[in-house]
Amino acid sequence: MDNKRLDNKKVVETTKAAEREYGVGHKLIGKNYETADLYAKVTGNAKYAEDFRSDGMLFCKLLLSPMPHARVKHIDARAALAIPGVKAILTADDLPAPADTLTDNGTVVKASKWGERGLTMEPVYQGEPILAVAAIDELTAAEAIETIQIDFEPLPFVVDPLDTLRPSGPNPRTDGNVWTRPPATASQGPGAPTVTELKWTESDFAELKKGRLPMGKTPDEWMYGDLDSGFKNAALVLDETFVTPDTSHQTLETRSAMAYWQNGKVYIYTGTQSTAQTLPAIARWLNIDPEKVVFISEYTGGGFGSKITGGVSMIIPALLAKKTNAPVMMRISREEETFIGRARPGFQGRMKVGFSKEGRITALDMFVICDNGPYDAVGDAPSSGRIVSLLYQPQAMRWRGVTVLTSTSASHIESVSSMSGASLSVTDSAGARHAADLVLLAVGVRPASELAHAAGATQGANGALVVTRQMRTNLPDVLAAGDCVETYHRLLDKPVYISLGTIAHKQGRVAGENALGGQRLFAGAVGTQSLKVFDLAVARTGLLERESRAAGFDPLTVEAKMFDHKAYFPGAKRLSVRLTGDRKTDRLLGAQIIGDRTSEISKRIDVVAAALFQDARVDDLNDMDLSYTPPFSSPWDPLQMAAQIWMQARS
């Protein structure tokens, strides 16, 4: 790195005109200069957190909660610790006790039992770290993570703040669903924020049925001016419900961090927006003297508010470094960042505004529900009222707000129905919510092949990409697989368009292997699929009668209804089989079965699929050695009975 260049903040030539305009004495205004960071950035020498290395450095990986709210009952890490190269495991038990916070105006904020600590035995959002493993490299750490067995006890969770405000709605934290602050007394300031429970009434929620946001009791409220007469004198009054989204910061540099200890001090390398705020935060999270913290942040790949103090996750490599007596690097993937990287919370709100003829706002009544996520109270709800007041200068205004705890990391768009009832909530494009018992989606499948087509790849059936059985497109080195390509059909001996996950998996495997230099052929599909419709199972494989005819076969189809197992054994249910074969050659062409979901419909169709794969004749099906015991089948399985009926019909 060219240090001279950096240190001098080299001032390039100035012009007399600029000096006249901005005066003498300014070092930068009106002058060309090179900022101190740019040379290192354009040459690739700038070191961001993940670019640091240290001798003997270990790597750690996190185990994230698969559930939005649960209690960890038991962790079995024996297998993980036995893997060569695994150095240590860090759990919530290893975390230092929470410390009090000294704010920059000198106030001491007492440590809260509800605060976030980095690892937890009671995850309160999906993706919250439960433990971390340090190992000689990342792959070993990740493999160790996969061997760890955890017993979870699922707990109620909340995705939509409205769900927890319902009279019997679930709570996102075991102690409640909102942050409240005990009122200030004459002798003392306001008390420490506390998690308490707030529920609205059924009559509050009646508003929702009219498509409007319910407005129950809120812990916070302020007002100025005469709201009633403001509305009375208004020429126009609008009352609208609105929704704003959560916004994920998604900094391009994730919150990776590296740490080691030397002479009793911890050295932490990570990105920050404010060294002045991050350093004391590290000291507080580790419960050590700030003098013992050396914080290194040379460059930061974006923050947008998410790295002012930074995330508590950065103490994980620091604690693992202490435990292993070695430097530890924690690289955070994009997926992990989405969980632990946080977001700006969204609102559900309602605004009633009165306007005079001239367009002046005479009265404004604002109501907001803020999705807080599971941890410390965010200040966005109170901010919203202050900003609206400042921006629109209403003659009279009331603001009411509630900051509701949820089980989201305030960064997800999820459509999980509430645990409190069977009904679903659907949010339409205007942000309005509708209750429903069942939501049916009617969709078709169109191959997303535009990109490859634009690059010159040939399209075939239904716009899908034409590929060889090695899954190669006509473009050199471009392989394609799955729903975007044509699929080779074994019975038709030609490509067709079928979009099924089973086929995509097989094609993807072939394409992947051939991308690495293999020569594998995709064996082809026979069109096997099954479907559950409430208590019915429906399955098919091979060709339908009309498809067989179109393909030049001479199809004969029989249909039969029979019991799925011996009728004398309890629980027998009827199923229907339709079997198609070629009249000329006896070749088996296809089958469809429909029946109860307990009648092994899907496995029965798989028997036919296996037969089709081997180019079987219908009578081969009859000769097959299939399993029998009265609770499951008959000595002649329903498929074999259907085959017998087919052979009789043919003769």
Partner: protein, 221 residues
């Protein structure tokens, strides 16, 4: 998680090519990102087998190959499934190439391969043998003189956090080889495979246009 078992079968890779404890499953997960919450294996690299202090026969897992990087012949041990970004950053110490997403969306890892800008997170290292790889570290002359596009960024103070910068610069250097005199709109299209989360696109384009101008001047002069 239900699909775990189905990926464990590794019978169709020749035995001697299966690196110790690296299953195909992890490679597949690494490239595609499965979206399984508990698993975090999507962004991994393996230390040299020597570091593990285990006896591993030569030629297992890693293979010594020669790469042409920034005009130098570099000998490096690579795994079959190793991406170029991984080799550059963690084996060759060229950390100017950044990983923003590791799944071919953000463009921060863009390098030139035979003068064509490509996402190095999605190129397997063994496929670039015999080809010329150029990273951000290889643009300036040995005497420290910057490439005209780098100089353009300094002249206009483009970029903020600059995590995306090396990707943008490499894309632009590559693009200018096919279109040395682009309009602002053409260059915007040229760098459309690179994302800037700071949303600094206007200033980036101004800087890169200045870089294009500098490049033409340097060719003339």
């Amino acid at each position: 998680m239900a699909e775990k078992a189905s990926f464990k079968i590794i019978e169709d890779l020749p035995k001697e090519d299966v690196p110790k404890a690296i299953s195909r499953r992890n490679f597949i997960k690494g490239v595609i990102t499965s979206g399984v919450a508990v698993s975090s294996a999507s962004y991994l690299f393996r230390a040299s087998s020597l570091l593990q202090g285990q006896q591993v026969p030569a030629g297992v897992g890693e293979r010594l190959i020669t790469l042409n990087v920034n005009g130098q012949q570099r000998r490096v041990d690579v795994m079959k499934q190793e991406t170029l970004a991984w080799t550059l950053r963690y084996k060759l110490g060229l950390t100017g190439t950044k990983l923003g997403c590791d799944r071919a969306e953000c463009g921060s890892c863009t390098v030139l391969i035979d003068d064509i800008p490509l996402y190095s997170c999605s190129v397997l290292t063994h496929t670039v043998r015999g080809r010329k790889v150029m990273t951000i570290e290889g643009l300036a002359r040995p005497d420290g003189t910057l490439h005209p596009v780098q100089q353009g960024v300094i002249d206009e103070q483009g970029f903020q956090c600059a995590f995306c910068m090396s990707g943008f610069i490499m894309t632009t250097v590559g693009y200018l080889k096919s279109n040395p005199n682009p309009t602002r709109q053409e260059l915007a299209h040229g760098v459309s495979g690179n994302l800037c989360r700071c949303q600094d696109y206007d200033k980036i384009l101004t800087a890169l246009m200045r870089g294009a101008d500098n490049t033409r001047r340097s060719l003339l002069g």
